[in-house]
Symmetry: C2
Subunit: 359 residues, 2 copies
């Protein structure tokens, strides 16, 4: 099976992108000798749709499997749900040479990955991302973790999977809103890294949103994974280049937190964040008006919930301050010089540029 | 300052062994540029004795510090206490380029280290072990973690400190029982790796137990750290050689668990575990009677609580089964061919040899 490889020394791993790939999971796992027992972690919705197929394929390959279901949604990235996972896998006797398989979107990948990173100080981990967002984003890079009531992703590790299996066919059962949210991250890769891909997206956005052409979808996912892999390969632990992946995330994370994680999907908040960061780039004179308009035009084709009217810049600033990206040296802001060309600068006082934008 | 180095590639770090070393912590930290803010995590007893000295030294070096105190004892290695640490360090604004310093015994090192490994996906970590056990054992090797109600150390990571500072003078305030428990691990290193060190301990045991000679104590700690460093360097993630460090721990961990962690200190349980493993080695004909007697004679000079009479082998077997060392391939048992020479074998049914020994 063809794959993209993420080259991280001894932690390297392949990403398989393959329609009807789910039924190959058993042989992929057994070829790699990842153990003969698997805990498949999934959420309520995804498990109903796909866990049978995955578990059957595993059992067929001689891998004894059990399913652990977490509730749908971001609230599952909590210490409580993590604790329930530990208890279940201990009781079922999962061993050091067994594996945890994440079957679901970003939430499932993050919590299952963190469980894999920390159970018995690390067991084999496999990811089957089932949302567009997870396929293009969370399945590359090894970031796993949970939220804290005081902020998102404040607890976690870097932990690489043994492989990632992406089956674009699972997208057909995804609500349109999830596809839209995923497109936020897709456009992000184009904006920070590849003008050609931006043109491709301008041309094919509707085709992708309607899931009208498998080839176009595969190419989209593959391009995103390749770009992210290149970035992560150069900077696994986010001390340098990897920060560009936070384009749109400074305001995005703050928006999610300031609306108690119940108004926006992550990708939607990032779309707002990218609009803001592009606007700042234009406002500061880094980005031409023409390019700024082209970016805005593309992003505006994604009909996502607007920013609530009551929200003020002070709320956002408070949430940005607790964001982990803020090092002692100050907050790093990822901006654009051009479509496909990022720039990073240390932000000063953000209040004025957030206030002005919110007006 | 002289140091032993633990060579683990980019994760290498020095261990400083130095009387009155505590007052050097500030300059050691600032020389290494580990951040300008420190969370010092300690327990009730140790913080009363030594936190002032540590924090003063840090402040003097320009490092703003705060103290987070956890309750004394093994029960602090829980998700609840970990959660309290996260909340505190988030509220106080600890950043990605700041540090966590563990000031205390193994429990404090394990939980503070796990917090450091997982907060913001990893911040700088420094260890100041204050018990003999922590100085010779937990400060080398990067194992950090917490317990689960169903078993010890089931949740954790491998996470290396930036450096370890050992001040043997802090042992003077340690209860005799703690020194005895620490001697268990000290003798372990001799048994699995160095006959010469065994002879040294036979000769100097009383001197060490009475803390009567600083030079002898320094040499003891240094030898243990060196042996452990050599083992860990060869096998950081415990897939091979490192398993020899579990000598005495199979039964030891089970004993702790079967007595609800309230009867034995870890080192005491390991002493019983080593007596059992030495006995099994003799019973199986690997170890001569003379050597077995010499080992027993040395271990019996440590007056520790006996194994409770009501305890039966079934309890112990149940606890051994949940122990993380059990891989699918079966339980690895570390035994001895000689003093200083280990052997590892896959254990079959342990019930008979536990029952016979308990009689």
């Amino acid at each position: 099976m063809k794959s993209i490889s993420v080259k991280l020394g001894t932690q390297s791993y392949p990403i398989f992108i393959h329609t009807t790939g789910l039924s190959n999971i058993g042989s992929l796992v057994s070829e790699r000798k990842l153990g003969n027992r698997a805990a498949v972690i999934s959420d309520e919705t995804v498990s109903k749709l796909y866990s049978d197929r995955v578990i059957k394929s595993l059992e067929k390959a001689g891998i004894n499997s059990f399913l652990h279901i977490v509730p749908n949604g971001e609230n599952s990235k909590s210490l409580n749900i993590l604790s329930e996972i530990y208890t279940d896998i201990i009781k079922r006797g999962l061993k050091r040479d067994d594996m945890i398989i994440a079957l679901g979107g970003g939430v499932v990948g993050d919590i299952a990955g963190f469980a894999a990173a920390t159970y018995l100080r690390g067991v084999n981990f496999v990811q089957i991302p089932t949302t567009l967002l997870a396929q293009v984003d969370s399945s590359v890079g090894g970031k796993v973790g949970i939220n804290h009531p005081l902020g998102k992703n404040l607890v976690g590790s870097f932990y690489q999977p043994k492989f990632v299996l992406i089956d674009p066919e699972v997208l057909y059962t995804l609500p349109r809103r999830e596809i839209l949210a995923g497109m936020g991250e897709v456009i992000k890769y184009a904006l920070i890294r590849e003008k050609k891909f931006f043109k491709f997206l301008e041309k094919n956005l509707n085709t992708i949103l309607q899931l009208a052409n498998n080839k176009v979808i595969c190419k989209t996912i593959k391009t995103c994974c390749k770009i992210k892999a290149q970035v992560v390969e150069k900077d696994e632990k986010e001390s340098g280049l990897r920060r560009i992946l936070n384009f749109g995330h400074t305001l995005g994370h703050a928006l999610e937190a300031a609306t108690n994680f119940n108004t926006f999907k992550h990708g939607e908040a990032v779309i707002h964040g990218m609009k803001w960061a592009s606007w700042v780039s234009w406002e500061k004179g880094y980005l031409s008006e023409e390019k700024f308009n082209a970016i805005n035009a593309l992003l505006n084709r994604l009909d996502i919930p607007p920013i609530p009217k009551g929200l003020n810049s002070a709320d956002l600033i408070t949430k940005i301050k607790v964001d982990k990206k803020q090092s002692r040296k100050g907050l790093n802001l990822v901006l654009l010089n051009d479509i496909g060309k990022f720039r990073i600068e240390t932000a000063g006082n953000l209040s004025p540029i957030i206030e002005k934008w919110l007006l």
